[in-house]
Symmetry: C2
Subunit: 381 residues, 2 copies
C-alpha cells in the first residue's frame, strides 16, 4: 500500500513540472496596497454566524477583524496579504482586539484561523469550514461575478446525504449527491454523473458548502446553459481506518477502491443514471485533481470525462484509451501558463480539451467555483 | 407581530407551570463524585475532529481536556459538574493546559466552549455543533444504550437538503428531509411525515447531526419496530430577515406561516406523502416543543400527532379538536413528575397519550435521541 510519502512525491513532482501545487493556500504574490484611503463601508461577511458583525469586508476587499479576549497577550489572524504572515491585531480602548488586512484580499472565499497566545483557535464570528484537516474560520470577499452562485427564486435541486457500507474499509461512509430540480425517479429519464473531489485537508462537505456547487448547477440549469446532471461528492482521504483518521496510511489505491468499486455501483443502483463511461466524469480540485489524474488513467473503463482544477495536467503521451473530454483549470495567480500549454498540447494531439484560467484568483475556492461553472458547460456534450 | 418578549413569557409560563424550561443546558443537580479513583482508561471522544486526541472520555464518564495555548493566562472549559461553573484547566509542565471534570458527566452529548483570557472560543479538538446561537464544541460520553443510534451495515435512508423559496420571509430557506431506505418515488407507496423541530439556539442541522435522527430511524426500520416515515427538519427561529438574523424579531407566527403554509405544501408536492392530518405529525425539543404546542393548537387541521420533548405538556382543556396521539417526554433530571402527570391527565380524559422519562439525563440530546426512538414507535399507529 502506498503511503503519504508517495503522495507528497506526486505533489513535489507536480510542482517540479510547473503545475499547480497540491498544497492549498500557497500565499499569492503580495499585491501593492492601493494608494487611496481605506473606505469605511465595511459590512459583515456573508460567512458570519447569525448576528455576528465581525469579520467585516469593505468594497475594496479589505477585511477587518474584531476579537474579544480582554486578557490575551497576543492575537494574530492568519489571513493577510501574501507573504505578510497574517494580520496582527491590536488591543483597542474598548479592550477588544482589532485589525484590518494591510491591503485588499482576492475576491472569493478564504480559510483562516486565529493564533491566540500561541494556540490555534477559530474566529467565533464565522461559520466553520473543513480545510487543512481542521474546521477553519472562513470569510467571503464578494466577487464581482458572484451572480453565478447567487441564491435565486428558481427551482432548486437537492443535496442528499447518503451512507454506504464500504467493505474495503469496513465502515459506513458518507457522500453527498446533488440531484437537479428536474430529477424525477418516476420518469424514465436518466442522468450523467460527475464524481467531484475536494482538496487536501478538506472533506465531502467542501463542494456544496464553500463551493456552492448546488447553486452553480441550479443557476446553470435555470438559465438553460447546461443539460442537468448529477454530482457525487465523497471523502477522498481514505485509509484502512475510515474517514476519522485523516492522512495516516492514506493511499490513492484505497480511495480508488472505495470510489470505483463501491460508490459508483451504489450510486448506479440507487439513482437514475447512465451507467457507461461516456456519461460519467471524474474531476477534483488540488489533491482531488491528483486523485482524478491517477484514477482516470488507472480505470479508464469507468470515466469518460476528466477534470483537473488546480490539480495538475494531462500529457498526451500518458493517455492510453479513448477519452471524451478533458478540462483543466487554475487561477491566474497559479501556474496559468502550464495549464494553457497543456490544453494546447492535448488539442494538438487531437483530444477534446478545454483549459480555463480564473482571472485574479489563486489556489482558493473562487477559482474552483468558476472552474465548475465552466467545466459543467463542457461535460457530456 | 409578536416579539421575543412574548416568547420569553411563554418560557416563564412553562417554568411556572412546572414543565420543562425552554432554556437548554440548565445545569443538572451536581451528582456526588464516585469514591474510587479516576480510571485511566481515557479514549478520544467520538465527536473529535479527525486525528485529534482530546477531549478524552473514560469509562466512568469523566472528560479530560487538553488545550495548547502556551502564553494564555487562563483557560476554562464551560463543561463540568452541575453548579461547578465548568472545569478550570491548569498549565502543565509541557506548557499545555490540562483538566478533568470533577466527576462523571451524564451519558450522551454535551455542548461546551472555552473561555480563554476572557474570550469565548471553541475547543480545536472537537467538531462544531450549532447550539446556543453559535457553533459550539461538543463531546460525547458513551451511553450504555447507544446501540439504537449505532452505525450498522444495514440499509440507510438519506438526509436530503432541500431549498425552498419562502414568500413570507422573501428568502431561500433550507430544510433537511430524512427519507427511509425503502423510499421509492417510482412506487405507488406513500409515507406519513413528521415535522421535527430543534431547540432554542440550534438550527435545522441539530436533529441529524447531534441527534442522529437518521440512524435512529434506520435502526428502528431494520429491526422491524416501525413502519417507515419521512422526517422534515427546518429552522424554527424565523423572522422577517430570514435565517441569518437569529432571535431578533423572532415570532412563532412567522414560523407558523413558513412551516404550515410554505414548507408543508412544498414537501407534499415534492415527496410521496399522505396529505391528511392523520398522517402528519409535529414534534420538537425544548423551544421546538413550545412551537409545536402553539402551532398544533392553532392549526389542528394540519397535524394529527403532537410531540413535546422537554418542551412542556398539553392540558386536556386546551385541546379543542380531534388528535390522533400525543407524546410527551423529558429527562429524569428535568421535571419528570410534570410530564408523567400530564400523561395521566390526558389518558384520563380519553386521549391517546404517551409519556416517557429518559433515565439519568437532563435537558440534553440523549434525552431527545431516546425520546425520538420512543415516539417513532407510537406515531401513525
Amino acid at each position: 500500500m502506498k503511503t503519504i510519502a508517495s503522495i507528497l512525491t506526486v505533489a513535489a513532482l507536480a510542482a517540479s513540472l510547473g503545475t499547480a501545487s497540491a498544497q492549498p493556500r500557497t500565499p499569492a504574490p503580495a499585491p501593492a496596497a492601493p494608494a487611496g484611503p481605506v473606505l469605511e463601508d465595511f459590512v459583515p461577511s456573508t460567512k458570519n454566524q447569525p448576528q455576528q458583525q465581525y469579520p467585516m469586508v469593505n468594497s475594496q476587499g479589505y477585511v477587518r477583524f474584531c476579537i474579544d479576549a480582554p486578557d490575551a497577550k497576543s492575537v494574530v489572524v492568519t489571513l493577510g496579504l501574501g507573504g505578510s504572515g497574517g494580520t496582527v491585531l491590536s488591543k483597542g480602548e474598548d479592550g477588544k482586539w482589532w485589525g484590518t488586512t494591510a491591503g485588499p484580499m482576492d475576491e472569493g472565499f478564504h480559510y483562516y484561523h486565529l493564533i491566540i497566545d500561541g494556540g490555534v483557535f477559530n474566529d467565533p464570528g464565522t461559520n466553520n469550514y473543513y480545510g487543512s484537516t481542521r474546521w477553519e474560520s472562513g470569510v467571503e470577499v464578494p466577487a464581482h461575478d458572484a451572480a453565478f452562485y447567487a441564491e435565486r427564486n428558481i427551482p432548486h435541486g437537492k443535496v442528499e446525504q447518503i451512507l454506504f457500507w464500504s467493505p474495503s474499509t469496513n465502515c459506513l461512509r458518507r457522500a453527498f449527491v446533488y440531484t437537479p430540480p428536474t430529477y424525477n425517479p418516476k420518469s424514465g429519464k436518466k442522468y450523467p454523473v460527475l464524481y467531484l473531489q475536494h482538496g487536501w485537508g478538506e472533506d465531502e462537505t467542501a463542494w456544496s458548502v464553500q463551493g456552492h456547487a448546488n447553486l452553480i448547477m441550479d443557476n446553470l440549469i435555470a438559465d438553460g446553459k447546461i443539460d442537468p446532471f448529477i454530482i457525487v461528492m465523497t471523502y477522498g482521504m481514505t485509509n484502512e481506518f475510515g474517514r476519522g483518521m485523516g492522512l495516516r496510511n492514506w493511499s490513492p489505491d484505497a480511495f480508488q477502491t472505495v470510489l470505483v468499486d463501491e460508490l459508483v455501483p451504489f450510486v448506479d443502483s440507487h439513482y437514475k443514471t447512465y451507467k457507461d463511461k461516456n456519461h460519467r466524469a471524474m474531476a477534483g480540485l488540488s489533491m482531488g485533481g491528483m486523485e482524478t489524474h491517477s484514477i482516470t488513467l488507472a480505470r479508464p473503463e469507468t470515466f469518460g470525462w476528466w477534470g483537473l482544477l488546480s490539480g495538475g495536467t494531462y500529457r498526451p503521451d500518458e493517455i492510453k484509451t479513448e477519452v471524451k473530454g478533458i478540462f483543466m483549470s487554475c487561477g491566474s495567480k497559479e501556474n496559468a501558463a502550464g495549464v494553457t500549454k497543456a490544453g494546447e498540447d492535448l488539442r494538438a494531439a487531437g483530444y477534446n480539451a478545454v483549459d480555463y484560467i480564473s482571472e485574479g484568483t489563486a489556489h482558493e475556492f473562487l477559482t474552483w467555483r468558476r472552474s465548475l461553472y465552466q467545466m459543467a458547460q463542457m461535460l457530456f456534450k
